[in-house]
Amino acid sequence: MTQIAPEIERKLGIVVERMPAFSKSVQKILEITRNINCTPRELVGIIEKDPVITLKVLRVVNSAQLSLPTKITSINQSVVYLGVNTIKNLALSIAAIGILPATNAAGFDIQRYLMHSLTTAAFARQLCSVYASNEADPGDCYIAGLLHDFGKIVFAQFMPEQFRQVLARNAETSQPSHHAELELIGADHTVVGAMLADKWQFPAALVDSIRSHHSPDAPATAMNDCLRMADLISRQLGNGGMEHPYREGESPINPARFGTDLGRVVAALGDTDKMMAEATNFVQAGMSK
């Protein structure tokens, strides 16, 4: 199923509206905003590690009520257009909703999800700088990585029982999550993520990348390629979770851009350990409370 009924679309929108953000970012936002001199860069650094807050900020700044003359694709750009105080207060209002629980009725591993999203984001940005610097903005590729699996969180929150079955199916078989989702829910997380991004008038390239990140015949745009390769590397490094682990022999992503040696691409990313450690730090500090 690639079409979602308008009523479901509306309900999914409300689910996200009410969805709290991740523990670490909520704590950090509350902490740094108590200081009137908190620096804008500190705030941006926290927001852009949280898929929920990032999604909501982009939703507001791209909204029809404002209709800014240009599509806003990053948190930095949001700060330029709306000012840091407005972004701070948006973040605070999202933080006030609460904290996304580490456990949910679907049994979906929120920390693993966050780890995968953060590493995919960091890798996608780096891949863009190395392999596609003249074709896309590395910051845009970062956002694509951060938000690409957002549909899974929506499933876990919105239809936990069905998503639990999806996860059970993943555990039993080695079928990747999106196949089981299609079968058991009727739409996969790429469709739901893209639908929301489209509904909120995100830039078309971002919507397309979210929609096609599991599609073998996705057009070879820079953002698609970098996202799909970053997703694959993140999973290869063990961040795929049980719902989509890396398997030997997965088809290569656009060899015309990246070549056929995955090891070389990983090496070109630079210090992946450091990127992984940064993500772990964010995820684990969030778990401790």
Binding site: T39, P40, R41, V44, V60, V61, S63, A64, Q65, L66, S67, L68, P69, S74, N76, Q77, V79, V80, Y81, L82, G83, V84, N85, T86, N89, L90, S93, D137, P138, G139
Partner: protein
């Protein structure tokens, strides 16, 4: 087109013997199109004196454009007397508030609450219309066109340009020049610099060639560094803007509430001393209550 200043003070009304020459009322500017259409920029306390003057020409149709929702730009609105008199029409235009999710009606609604003001909106007898503006929308007011540009302040602030028969006025409301939130050497520095340069070019294009630029000149260059991020410009930053955009006359406003008339003139003269007027910006003056500019 005619421009008249009714309030030129920033932040808080500052009446008293030390501000008598420039005035203590907060922001309010009246603009009349060639055909006499009434456009009011901001509803600070200056709007009360304007309201008294308008009582002589009832019924009126007023088009009030609010740059942003901070108190000093709206707190005269409930005292805009024509709102209470049947037969008048008041259109209130301004930006959507992204944090509260409300439209421009909020700037009135928030003030007309039982605890803060004795009259309810339902009791106002004029025809009141609220128009929440999308960024970049042009509003036609008779023979004048009002366009808006999003500027840089802690809350969404629209700068307004009014064009009428080849003449133009731009009012910034409150605006601070963009600065890079990263340090040179930070990974994001270059990207952020590109973003602010792009945004600045869009603002320059909106200000370009206007006859009168009325700009937020709260600070001196020396005061500014301690106030960075507060959302206000300086004499120097506004002169720079005027120069870049080929503005014919710059009117400096949003005077600091603590600044006496004498001090205001002193810091203004000092700012002008390191700027040589010339064809780039032929005239730079201070806004004062009662100042009229004919275009």
């Amino acid at each position: 087109m005619k421009v008249r200043f009714w309030g030129v003070r920033g932040s808080i009304p500052s009446p008293g013997p030390k501000t008598i020459r420039y005035g203590g009322n907060t922001t309010c500017i009246e603009v009349r199109s060639d055909a006499g259409e009434l456009i009011i920029l901001d509803g600070g306390t200056g709007i009360f004196a304007l309201a008294q003057a308008l009582l002589k020409e009832l019924p009126i149709t007023a088009n009030v454009f609010i740059t942003h929702s901070h108190w000093d730009h709206i707190h005269g609105l409930p005292f805009f007397t024509p709102l209470y008199i049947p037969g008048n029409s008041v259109r209130l235009c301004g930006a959507h508030d992204v944090v509260t999710g409300t439209g421009i009606e909020q700037v009135m609604g928030v003030q007309l609450q039982y605890s803060y003001f004795p009259v309810r909106e339902a009791e106002m007898r004029a025809r009141i219309e609220y128009q929440t503006l999308r960024v970049g929308t042009v509003v036609e007011v008779g023979d004048a066109r009002v366009s808006n540009t999003i500027l840089n302040h802690p809350v969404i602030n629209l700068g307004y340009r009014i064009d009428c028969n080849g003449k133009s006025v731009f009012f910034t409301g409150d605006h601070e020049p963009y600065f890079n939130i990263y340090d040179p050497g930070d990974e994001d520095y270059g990207e952020y610099q590109t973003l602010i340069e792009e945004k600045q070019r869009a603002i320059d294009a909106a200000v370009a060639g206007c006859d009168v630029l009325i700009a937020d000149c709260s600070y001196t260059a020396a005061e500014y560094p301690a106030k960075r991020g507060w959302g206000h410009g300086s004499f120097d930053s506004s002169i720079e803007l005027a120069r870049r955009c080929g503005v014919k006359q710059l009117v400096c406003t949003h005077h600091e509430p603590t600044r006496s008339d004498d001090e205001l003139e002193r810091v203004f003269a000092e700012a002008l001393s390191h700027f040589s007027p010339g064809p780039a910006v032929p005239s730079v003056i201070l806004a004062r209550e009662g100042l009229e500019i004919d275009l």
